[in-house]
Amino acid sequence: MLKKVYVLLLVLALSGILSSCAPAAPAEVLVGINAEITGAIPMVGAACKNSAEMATEEINSAGGLDIGGKKYTVKLVIADNENKPESAAAAATKLVSQDKVLIHIGANASKNAIPASSVCNELQCPMISPWSTNPNTTLYKPWVFRACFIDSFQAGVNAQFGQEEFNTDKGAVLFDIGSDACYYQGFFFKETWEKLGGTIVAFETFTTGDKDFTAQLTKIKESGAKVLYVPQYYDEVPLIVQQANRLGVTEDIHIIGHDGWESPDLCKLCGSDCNGLFFTTHWAVDIAGAKTQAFIQKYKQQYGVDPDSVAGLTYDAMYLFFRAAQDCGKLTGNLQTDRACIKDALANMKDFEGVTGTMTPTEQGDMIKSVHIVEIDCDAGVFKWYKTVEPKTF
C-alpha cells in the first residue's frame, strides 16, 4: 500500500517537473519589482507598486508589449524587501534566479538598492532603481541603471541655474565638511560654477551638529556673492536661512539648494523665512507638460493620493524597460540573451521622455536628465514648480 503511495507521489512529482519543462504560456514577459512594501518606509513601497501596476495595466490593455511585431503580456512579480539591505539582496536573488524575471526594477532606498544592484550585476540581470541617488548603486555595475539623477549632477544644475536665473558670476557655497554627500556636492558646485565662467568668492564650511553659522554667513555677505548654494538637509537649512535673514544676508544673496531640502518638515521648522527660495528636485505635482499631468491625474484617480517622486520615477523605470524591449527588436526566449539585449538597449537609449523629464543614461548608468526647480511657499505649505532645466552634461 505504502509503495503505491510512493509511486503515485513520484508520478505526480515527475509530471510536475515535466509540465514546467513544457513550453511556457507564450508571449509573456516577467518584470520583477523589489520594493519597500513593509518596514519603516511603506509609503515608498506602495508608490512603487502602484506605479508599476498602473504601467503594466496600461500596456496590457493596449494589447500588450509590442516587441518586433509580437505582442507580449507584461506580468509583475512583486517582492517585499522589508526596507532591509539583506532582504533586498534576498529578494533580488529570488526574482532573478527563481522567478526568472527579464528585468529587475527596484529597490528604492539606496541602502537596499546597493546590495540588490550587486546581486543583479553578479547574476547578469538588468536592473533599474527608480529612486536611489547614491553613486555606489551603479558604480562599476554595467547591468544597473537608475531613473533618477545623482547628487553631483544636481549640483551642476544648480550652478547653471544660479548663474542664468540671477545673472551673476559670483557664487558662494556653505556646506557640512563632515558629511561626504554634502562635501561632494559643495565641490562639484564649485567646479561647475567655475567651468561655466563664474568665480566662487566664498567657500565656507561647518561641522556636523553646528548651530551657529553667523561667522560664515557674515563672511559670505562680505564676499559680494549673489548666489549661495546650501547642499544641506531640511533640518539644518532653516537655521542657516533664519540666521541669514537676521544678518541681512538674503537681501542681495539668493540661497538655493538641492533635494535634501524636500520635506514637509522644512516649512514646519522654517516658517515664512524660507519663502521664495529655490531648490532642485526630481518631482513636483504641478510640473507642466501634458504627459506628466495625464499621469498625475490618472494616478490620483486610481489611488486617491498625489503621486510622489517614487511613483513618477517607477513609472518611468517601467517605460524605460518597455522602450528597451522594443528597441531590442525581438525576444529569443533564451533568458540570458534577452537580458543582455535589454541591458544594451538601456545603455544605448537616447532622450527617453518620461513623466519626470527627458533622460539619457551615462556610461555608468546614471541619468543625465531634466531637473525640476521648485520655489518654496511655506505660507501655503507647498513647493511650487518653477521651471524645468533641460538635460545637459557638465
Partner: protein
Amino acid sequence: MAYFLQQFINAVQLGSIYALVALGYSMVYGVLRFINFAHGDIFMVGALLAYVGAGFLLRLANQIFLPGAVVFVGTMLFSMAGTTLIALLIEKVAYRPLRQYRLSVVITALGMGVLLEHLALVIVGPWRLSFPLLVANHVYRFGGVSISTIQLLIIFVSLALMILLEFLVQRTKQGMAMRAISYDRETLPLMGVSVNQIVSLTFAISSCLAAAGGLLYGHAYPIVEPYMGITVGWKSFISAVVGGIGSIRGAVLGGFILGFVEIGAGAVFPSRMRDLISFVVLMTVLLIRPTGIYGVARRQKV
C-alpha cells in the same frame, strides 16, 4: 570695519549663551569640586520646558490679552522652575549619596545626562521642534552692520542675569556661604551653615541659568531636540575650564573667549580650519595658565 563689528556682535551673542551654561559648571565645581556632566542636558531640558511653556502661554495669549514681556518672563520662570526641580532631584538621588566618592559621582553625572536625553527622546521623540519666537524680531541696520531684536535680547538678558548672580554671590548671606564652602568645606558646618542647603541652592541657581540659556538659545537657533545639550554642554565646560573652573568671573570670561575664538577663527581664516584653530588657541591658553585665567592653584590635601 563693518565686517568686524558684525562678527563682534555674532561673537557676543554666541559667547553669552556659552557663559550662561558655563556658570553652572563652574558654580557646582566651586562648591562640590566635581563636574556636573549632566549640566548640558539640564540645559536641553530647560530649552524643551521653555518650548512647552511658550506654547501654552502663546495659546493663552490668543484668548486673553497678555503683553509680550509677560509671555517671555512667564516662559522663563516656568522653565527655570521645572529645571530647578529636576536638578534638585538629580542632586538628591544621584550626587548626594556619593559625595565622598569623587569618581563614582562623575559616572552618575554622566549617567544622569544620558537618562535625561533618553527621557526626552521618549517623551518628545527624535523630531526637531520649531521653537516659537516670543518677541517680534526686527533687524536694525547701522551702515553695514545688522543687529536683530533677538540678538539684543540675548545679550541683554544674559548680562542682566550675570549681574544678578554677581550681586547674589557677593552681597547676600547665602552667597557668602557659597563662597565659604568653596574655600573650606570642612570648617563651614562648624560655623552652623548647612552644607546641603547651600549645595541645593547652588544647583538651583546653576539650573536656572541653564534654563535661561536654553530659552535664549531657542531664540537664537530656533530648533530644539533631545541631543541639543551635548555640544553646547561640552563647549561650555571648556569655557568654564579656560576661564578657571570654580570662578564665576572666569566662567563668564571663558564663555566670551570661546565665542570670540570660534567666530574669530571662522572670520579670519578659512572656515574649514575653524575648529582646528579655535582648539589650538584654547589649548595654548591652558598651557600658559593651567588652572584657567581666573583659576587659583590649590594645594591638594593628602
